[in-house]
């Protein structure tokens, strides 16, 4: 096995183009587990912890650009206002030890349907910035996940950053698991209200081969909210309920060790109703 330690993104890209099979290694919370358990023996590891630019985030226009290696701990501390959905989800990732090392780049790279950071990124139409020795691409998050643990990255590409609009309204994330910590989601859901555009965004986790948006539920709720953004009042029960049903209907869960498909659909409807109730109550508070 080879072990590469680039100290700049350009060097990392060069190494990746020369060794397309090299596995990027950063926080190690996925890759090291596979190696420890002998599930994976890559020919080469590409350690990205020496690439400082991957650890930086910045604000531009009305967006944030979050470097692929920015740890969840930093996102929680510094991005709770700009990216509240992502920050709330980050708080539920693993434990302090894992949050100090794990990053959004890892969640995107692993492309597990259970990645906690992924539903909130879907809910805000985030954009993944990839980089190679010859090219830089921006891939809409909705086109990034191709299947279970498969993404749109080319063998010579690395994830550089993720871009998200600065939150224009309340955002939430909720997940179901056996404990309040160290939980791989049985299912999860994120909701973002966008009062500026009159739309809502959603993201479902752990309930389909990939993380996905509940587009029908988004269309339904956006239409229902059209006349309610200004001078908002509590939402009628049937709107909240129908939204939950449409979210559950968008999922295509399976039975596995963590839960049954039926349970996941049931729980998703509840998470959707709760997050809608929370975010709408916040919208009302802000409007007062």
């Amino acid at each position: 096995m080879e072990f590469f330690r680039p100290t700049s993104l350009a060097e990392a890209c060069q190494l990746k183009s020369e060794h397309p099979d090299a596995v990027p290694l950063c926080g190690g919370t996925d890759v090291m587990v596979d190696i420890n358990f002998d599930r994976r023996r890559p020919d080469a590891l590409l350690d990205l912890t020496g690439v400082r630019e991957l650890y930086e985030w910045s604000r531009y226009d009305s967006h944030v650009r979050v470097g692929a290696a920015v740890p969840y701990t930093t996102i929680i501390k510094e991005l709770s206002a700009d990216a509240p959905g992502l920050a709330i989800a980050s708080r539920t990732v693993g434990s302090p030890q894992i949050r100090n090392r794990g990053s959004v780049g890892g969640n995107l790279g692993s492309a597990s349907p259970a990645g906690d950071a992924l539903p909130p990124l879907l809910a805000v139409d985030a954009v993944v910035e990839t980089v190679s020795a010859t090219n830089r691409r921006r891939i809409p998050i909705h086109e990034f996940f191709l299947g279970p643990k498969r993404n749109a990255l080319q063998p010579d590409e690395l994830i550089a950053a993720v871009h998200a609009p600065v939150a224009g309204g309340p955002q939430q994330f909720a997940k179901v698991g056996t404990r309040n910590a160290m939980v791989i989601a049985v299912c999860s859901f994120s909701l973002a209200l966008h009062p500026d555009t009159g739309r809502v965004g959603t993201g479902i986790g752990s309930a389909a081969p990939t993380p996905l948006a509940a587009t029908q539920a988004e269309d339904f709720l956006s239409a229902e909210l059209a006349d309610r953004w200004t001078g908002p009042a509590e939402l009628p029960d049937d709107v909240v309920r129908r939204f939950g049903e449409l979210v559950a209907g968008a999922a295509s869960p399976i039975d596995d060790v963590r839960g049954t498909a039926d349970y996941r659909r049931h729980a998703l409807a509840i998470l959707a109703r709760r997050t809608l109730t929370w975010t709408w109550a916040e919208h009302i508070r802000r409007a007062q």
Partner: protein, 156 residues
């Protein structure tokens, strides 16, 4: 092919030779540097028994690649005390009866030590959240919480 890894562990510069590139920091500490205080249990970041400070932050040593620790500053449970004198958090773990089989203790000590450095007067909720990544199958955690509260009290 193997690599050489040099790091500072508990204030002392140490070098490990012939390290396999896929090896974890935990393995290097325990098997190559003679520091078996950090425990090896789940090897997947679930249990926290291998918790060490890496650059001043708590991490699971089983999830850090050996090569990633090159040049790093590491504190293990062996580095908490000062010669014969145990650190306050170690003394209060003993005083509160927070140690039973002892397997989780090194990781919990590092995590609690880090918590009290960052927050000398943590609320119960903060303690629970800070220790959420360290599993103990003996104590039921109550005595561990007592030990952390006692250490905070003694530091005042």
């Amino acid at each position: 092919m193997t690599i050489r890894v040099t790091m500072t562990v508990n204030g002392e510069p140490l070098t490990a030779d012939d390290v396999w590139e896929g090896e974890s920091l935990l393995h290097v500490l325990r098997e190559r540097l003679g520091l078996p205080g950090s425990k090896n249990a789940c090897e997947q970041g679930e249990c926290g028994s291998c918790t060490v400070l890496l650059g001043g932050e708590v991490v699971c040593a089983c999830l850090v690649g050996a090569g990633q620790a090159e040049g790093a500053d590491i504190v293990t449970v062996e580095g908490l005390g000062d010669g014969e004198q145990l650190a306050t958090i170690q003394q209060t773990f003993v005083a509160a009866g927070a140690v039973q089989c002892g397997f989780c203790t090194p990781g919990l000590l590092i995590t609690a030590f880090d918590l009290l450095n960052r927050d000398p007067d943590p609320s119960d909720a903060t303690i629970r959240e800070a220790l959420a990544g360290n599993l103990c199958r003996c104590t039921g955690y109550e005595k561990i919480l007592d030990a952390v509260r006692l250490a905070a009290e003694r530091a005042r």
